[in-house]
């Protein structure tokens, strides 16, 4: 286990370095000028002198490797740099946005698990019935719905028409529900089908047939045997979804004026805010590697046959 954690730690550093380098390179070779982007955001047609001054201030006149090196040295010293678009330390911006993203992601994940688990299991249990057909329809609709459309429909019905929810105060629990639903519904569509398939697969296993033959109650079989085994297969998928949600969701955040990482990343790209973009990439690399690690560990806990680093043959 210790060896595995060390190797994962090394992997994390490599991934973060590579991701930051590639992002830096792509931003550098893109034809846009961060200084110009920043100035024109305010309807100023910048003069060449002002552009030059801004470039100098932003450190854009240095060669690529010097810029990257300076940034990397700063990171190693614990300084992620200064955001030119937010006029604030990157760490401060990331910190405040991260809290809001976590808030939304947790709500979305809870809803996602509740919806997909209940409907997925029900669909499998009621296979080939009207209920199964309805749930399949819901699942397809969920997958097919674009987030922006769903978000606007939810706002229109629940905020404008019914006035059950508000959306302008992200600190209010009432304002979290709709964006969380907007994120959870399309994801649930995918998970319902996965869970249904996994449960149906377990249904035909010998140990389930044996348990039924021994007269064990159906609910007990479901809870003790089928579900734990079925869930193993979607842990990886869930891990990826969590990582995506923790990265912030641009469209939903924009529609709901949610001040999370997604809208921050979009602004960072729009204004070519190198420092903020790099900070975001580092954070995302860390999240993805960490989530993968957690998924591996969880999978092993659920299935002792799995060894971290690969399957062990059952000989």
């Amino acid at each position: 286990m210790r060896k595995y954690i060390i190797s994962r730690g090394i992997q994390l550093i490599i991934v973060m370095l590579l991701a930051s380098f590639i992002t830096f390179l792509l931003t550098y070779i893109s034809p846009s000028d961060p200084a110009e982007m920043m100035l024109t955001a305010h309807d100023v047609i910048p003069t060449e002198e002002l552009l030059e001054k801004t470039r100098e201030e932003m450190g854009l006149n240095d060669p690529f490797i010097v810029q990257y090196g300076n940034w990397l040295i700063g990171v190693l010293r614990g300084n992620l740099g200064y955001s030119s678009s937010e006029r604030e330390q990157v760490a401060v911006v990331l910190g405040s946005r991260m809290l809001m993203t976590i808030r939304l992601a947790v709500a979305a994940i809870v809803l996602l698990i509740v919806f997909s688990l209940s409907l997925g299991v029900l669909s499998a249990v009621k296979i080939h019935t009207f209920i199964d057909q309805v749930i399949k329809g819901i699942s397809f609709a969920g997958i097919s719905m674009p987030s922006f459309w769903l978000g606007l429909i939810l706002i229109y019905y629940f905020v404008v028409k019914q006035r059950w929810f508000t959306i302008t105060n992200p600190y209010d629990l009432n304002s979290v529900i709709l964006p969380a639903l907007t994120l959870a519904i399309p994801l649930s569509g995918r998970y319902i089908r996965q869970i249904r398939a996994a449960v149906l697969e377990q249904y035909t296993e010998d140990y389930v047939v044996g348990a039924r033959a021994r007269g064990i109650h159906e609910m007990r079989i479901m809870k003790k045997h089928i579900l734990p085994n079925a869930l193993k297969s979607i842990i990886t998928l869930l891990g990826l979804s969590i990582a995506v949600l923790l990265g912030g969701t641009v469209i939903v955040e924009n529609i709901f004026s949610w001040p999370g990482l997604g809208s921050m990343a979009l602004n960072a790209v729009t204004y070519r805010d190198y420092a903020l973009l790099q900070g975001y990439v580092l954070f995302m690399a860390f999240i993805y590697v960490s989530i993968n690690f957690l998924v591996d560990v969880t999978t092993q806990l659920l299935d002792p046959r799995v060894r971290l680093g690969g399957y062990q043959d059952d000989v």
Binding site: T47, S85, V106, I167, N169, N254, I255, F256, S257, T270
Partner: protein, 517 residues
Amino acid sequence: MKKLVSILIIISVLCMGCTGQSRQQQVNQNGAGEAAQEKVLNMAVFWFDSNLEPTEGWNGWALTRCGIGENLVQVDENLEFKPVIAASYEQVDELTTIFQIRENVTFHNGHVVDAKACKASIERALDISDRDDVKFPVESITAEGQTLTIKTTIPYATLINNLADPVFVIVDASVADDEQFKFKPITTGAFKVETFTPSVGMTLHKHTSHWSGDIGVDVVNVKYIQDASTRTMTLQSGEIDLATQVSPKDLALFENDDHYVVQKGPNLRVFLLRINMDKPYMKHLAFRQALCYGIDKATYASQIVKGIPAKGPFNDMLPFHVKEDDAYPYNPEKANELLDQLNMVDTDGDGIREMNGENMILTYISRSNHGNDANNIGMAMQSQYREIGLGVDIVQVENYADIASSGEYDLLWERWTSAPTADPQYFLEASYKTDSSGNYGHYSNQDLDKVCLALDKELNKDSRHRLGAEGAKILMDDVASIFLYYQEGTIVTNKNVGGVYRFISEVYYIDDRVTME
């Protein structure tokens, strides 16, 4: 299973709680739970900077728009100068202006505002602001009691205009070194900042000692809502009482509803196509005129962008606009006639005219962050120019400045705030004067240069306006650019909100006059 559900609920509740607002808003949404008779205004804005330090970039706009900051002098809704912190002012000679500061003005922290405090605030802005465009050449600033005297090194016609810029919001410079100042600046306006969260909004409480007397609103919750559709829907739901820049497409929802008051009209943004004068064919006035005659600007404005068709750089609300009708209304026959006169004819039957054997295909450049409007107008022009035998290549770029300086274009989409300080000089000079920095198309016109030179020296406001109109007419007649449309500014309020005015500059949304029933 029960355990799993319980764990999920506990985790979610903990997360909701632990990421709660650091500084709880004092006032609930829609007045729920508020103190008796407390008047709460919820307003939505579409733009917020990361802090409220007025000397940084355009951050001061949030202060002026929300009634937090005030200047010595401001430009009112009728584009007239209005003394605010200064009760009066007088230009005693071409270098010296004397301001009499109001007697009963206090900062939000209770400190008295006198000439010395104003001097400190203005000097601070001149010293640390990154907005060189609004700075002025100072010989001296002296303060004596309530009398503030500003002396410039040269005659400076736009001193008052510049002092009206949000950069020069009067702040308590004695406490400006505090690190919290940029989030809770100490100013003089009708409302003071209680909480400010970048990217979320701010809570404002009324300044109980405001010089104008009692303010008609106790609390203002300013919400940052970037998406126009969301702003519309929060207005409809009653969550918001006032919203700005409501999408023109959504305005009908409110215009036909007695519960709302809609104010709209041109703002200071003008959208234009800069012409590359280095191209040989663009040197012919007739060709440029044909370009204007060949497009139906009125339809573009009304159908594509819901704006106001432009005939020159300044809209009709500005006192220095072009008084005459558009010199080149849509007239494809006239365009064809002019192109024929220039011997641009289609010899190979492909529908595109030629010049020196080359097909006349114009390159139309817009920036990718200009959105769909620039592209849609480009496509409409492509279609209409085809009818007069001209081709158009529409290109969206990110390295706009590079393209502009390289000259690899015929038409360059631009968006300008044409008179940010309610004066014509800035735009005429920065954008069209020979060899000026913003004159990417290398336009040169001796008559316009003379107007710019005259504006440099002219101190009389009416004469400046006359010169501005003269310059605007030169640009229109000479087709220095294709002036497409003016943006329409909108402000929508619930009917229970009063004292809200639409400022053409959009520097202000609410001030001490705002009331709520």
